[in-house]
Amino acid sequence: MNIQSPTRPSLRSFWDATGMLLVFVLLFAGCALFVPNFSSWVNFKGLLLSVATVGLISCTMLFCLASGDFDLSVGSIVAMAGVLTAVVINRTGSVPLGIAAGVASGALVGLVNGFVIARLGINALITTLATMQIVRGLAYIISDGKAVGINVPSFYSLGINSFPANPSRFAVPIPIWIMLISFVIFGILLNKTIFGRNTLAVGGNAEASRLAGIRVAPLKIVIFTLQGAMAAFAGVILAARFTSGQPTTAQGLELQVISACVLGGVSLTGGTGTIIGVVVGVLIMGIVNNAMNLLQIEPFYQYLASGSILLAAVLVDRLRTRTA
């Protein structure tokens, strides 16, 4: 067989590396020029805060997609973990215990996802579609269908406080810090560790990876467990910002997270993805929504925008992976 690349490798890799970055820069410049009040420190903070949940979960969704799977249950996990944390804090009065319970519940769901997918060989779409509904149901059951207010104010600091503390000019809300740190940690995990490299290899060709000695099933279980824990952690932070656990929150969040990743160049078929891409993808989504808010476009139209962005992202993915 004769293998020749029919595409222009230099041009393509340039597009891979910088294509979405370029879109981001143009979008940012456009908003800075034409959207009133866009270029302000306060607005930037608001923008980043608005993408904190999506950003956090994108870190682990990157691993999930890069290994060739995906996870639809994250939105439900956000809701369940928030509600559970609220209930546990209210019952015990202990903030650490509440956070631990929330994160652990998410990790457990992830573990189940990973086990069913990797060991029992059920398709990730179906498995996580099922757990998405089960976990949303649990969120309603735990909270009895109502928002659970949290009456231990020290918990709110996780979502509302800033570092350095207000009224410093450089005060940045804690959730943004957590998001930035997560990007760094998961970037290192993807690029600098055997775990990260193996994740990309499994997404590129699972059977070849297995025959090359990678333990594929344990790897996938770890990825899904991390994903569950991360979604739950994001849910805990969201509960701190809302000062309550809400069973109805984060509906459709999984799709926003996946769109952000795909927009950032993570292939839906697995094997490719970078943390920089994901950061750019998350920011593009944030900027578009932020600009629409500032332009006082009705929220209904934001659904149009998110849908169009998702479609655009998939088209971009298609263009990237197409072999002429």
Binding site: S5, I194, L200, A201, N205, A208, L211, A212, G213, I214
Partner: protein, 512 residues
């Protein structure tokens, strides 16, 4: 005049001149071999013929009419069909639907099932096949699927039919059937292009041959005569085998195996009563350090299955494996590698390489854990130097270690997989499943010398192959498998084509 003519075709991709000024004629009622090493330009030429690529310059003529295909549909409409290695069929649909996909008979928008069935029956009967048209394609053996693909080409009135290595996954009986059909097509006046690496096939089937090398036309046999096209006398129209090979590689290869005996040590691998999927009786054998043990058998004899059990890719039911006289428990490939057994798999694309990762990544995939004390952070410097060292040592042809491995030729991919195992520090037994499948003649002898080098360094080597000359050429000892069990083991001195083949054939005549 020849029906199909290539005239000064050139095609470049950035950095690669795939075809340069290719001209040659292809006659009607002939089977024309297209030969050349990997990268010679055969696939590019087929893709121009089928309308996938457009040439940069030059043209192709059909019955003296210049053609300019904008799409594969244009080529199909002009009567061209290319039967690729990977068939272009829908496994989940019926045979009949596959045959008429794209122009299913219908009335008022509803599928006309009876016409579909009638047409399909007729079309298949032309090829001497009596496959029920309702059969789901995926339930057919590969040989019959190929027949469906050929029938599909004929149903579209194809005049020019090109085959791209059609026999690579066929049994010998299926191959015979295919050849009969190709000869029948030839007698019907079709123009047939035939790409294959197998010299035997070319001599038994083809009456003309064109050799390409590095994108250039080397020679076309028979040399054009001023008179009418040649008669079908393959032996006289093609030159001797050595001349053809010499044309392909640009140098003469007398003995591509270059076997020489080497010292052997103690038993490295002892397998006792191994049973599992694909084996009909327990398998026992042993390999010494420095020994090359060949496994030969017909398709379905259980050779690949045996290797997979040995490697833990499929869990064995029972049996014991000893490495260096110590029992080894092999429950997974990861465990096999840690015990010192490694595998270069049969299907490189599906089981060997990670196509969309770099050559360097592919080389370091397994060995990288030795570079990192905590088995957590990778060691970029060691990975770079290891990849560079391996690329040099095995002379892997790649522009840079960062090149995606899918862009390498088959031989170089195989070498990269070998490099992966040479990056392990504890390899005692290496398993090769069809090490030279789809690899051109020049690269083959390189792979053989790498196998010898491994054996000389004291590694026990097992080579599974369905090419008899290869097994005979490189093995110290040969295990012959038949219907899921090891039928016999012969020393190199006892093994001849006849003795090995007669042991490999089923004892009783199979019912037809």
């Amino acid at each position: 005049m020849p029906y199909l003519q290539f005239q000064s075709l050139s095609k470049s991709f950035p950095g690669v001149r795939a075809l340069h000024d290719i001209s040659f004629p292809v006659e009607e009622s002939s089977v024309h071999a297209l030969m050349g090493e990997n990268g010679a330009g055969k696939s590019t030429l087929l893709k121009i013929l089928s309308g996938v690529y457009r040439p940069d310059s030059g043209q192709l003529l059909l019955a003296t009419q210049p053609q300019s295909f904008r799409s594969t549909n244009d080529a199909i409409a002009a009567g061209i069909a290319v039967i690729y290695q990977e068939l272009q069929l829908v496994p989940e649909m019926s045979v009949a639907e596959n045959l008429y996909l794209g122009h299913l008979p219908h009335s008022l928008g509803f599928l006309d099932k009876s016409t579909l069935r009638q047409n399909a029956l007729q079309q298949l009967a032309l090829l001497g096949e009596d496959i029920p048209p309702k059969t789901k394609l995926s339930s057919l053996p590969i040989g019959q699927r190929q027949m469906v693909e050929i029938a599909k080409a004929l149903s579209r009135d194809a005049k020019v039919i090109a085959f791209d290595e059609p026999t690579s996954s066929l049994s010998s009986r299926e191959t015979d059937k295919l050849f009969a059909v190709i000869r029948q097509l030839r007698s019907q006046g079709k123009v047939i292009l035939y790409v294959s690496h197998r010299m035997d096939e070319i001599y038994s089937l083809c009456d003309a041959a064109t050799v390409l090398r590095d994108g250039k036309h080397v020679i076309t046999y028979p040399k054009p005569l001023p008179t009418s096209p040649p008669l079908h006398s393959p032996t006289s129209s093609l030159p001797p085998r050595d001349t053809l090979i010499q044309n392909m590689v640009g140098r003469s290869i007398t003995d591509i195996f270059r076997y020489s005996p080497r010292p052997q040590g103690s038993v490295a691998l002892e397998v006792r009563n191994l049973t599992g999927k694909g084996l009909s009786s327990p398998a026992s054998f042993s390999v010494k350090k420095g020994e090359i043990l060949g496994f030969f058998g017909l398709v379905g004899a259980g050779r690949t299955e045996l290797l997979k059990l040995l490697y833990g890719a499929v869990r064995p039911r029972s049996g014991s494996i000893e490495i260096d006289s110590r029992p080894a428990r092999i429950s997974s490939p990861a465990a096999a590698i840690r015990s010192g057994i490694v595998l270069c798999p049969e299907d490189r694309k599906k089981e060997g390489i990670i196509p969309i990762r770099s050559v360097q990544e592919n080389i370091n995939l397994s060995g990288r854990r030795h570079f990192s004390p905590l088995h957590f952070f990778i060691n970029p410097k060691r990975e770079r130097t290891n990849a560079a060292d391996q690329i040099r040592a095995l002379s892997i042809k790649t522009p840079t270690p960062k090149q995606l491995i899918k862009n390498l030729s088959g031989g170089n991919q195989q070498k990269a997989i070998l490099a992966r195992w040479l990056s392990e520090n504890n390899v005692k037994v290496i398993l090769f499943d069809e090490p030279t499948r789809g690899i051109d003649v020049g690269a083959k002898s390189e792979i053989y010398s790498l196998i010898y080098r491994l054996a000389e360094s004291g590694v026990a080597v097992i080579v599974v192959s369905s090419e008899l000359p290869e097994v005979l050429g490189i093995s110290d000892r040969i295990c012959i498998m038949r219907q899921g069990s090891i039928a016999a083991t012969l020393d190199r001195s006892q093994a001849t084509s006849e003795s090995v083949l007669s042991l490999a054939l089923p004892a009783t005549q199979e019912a037809a």
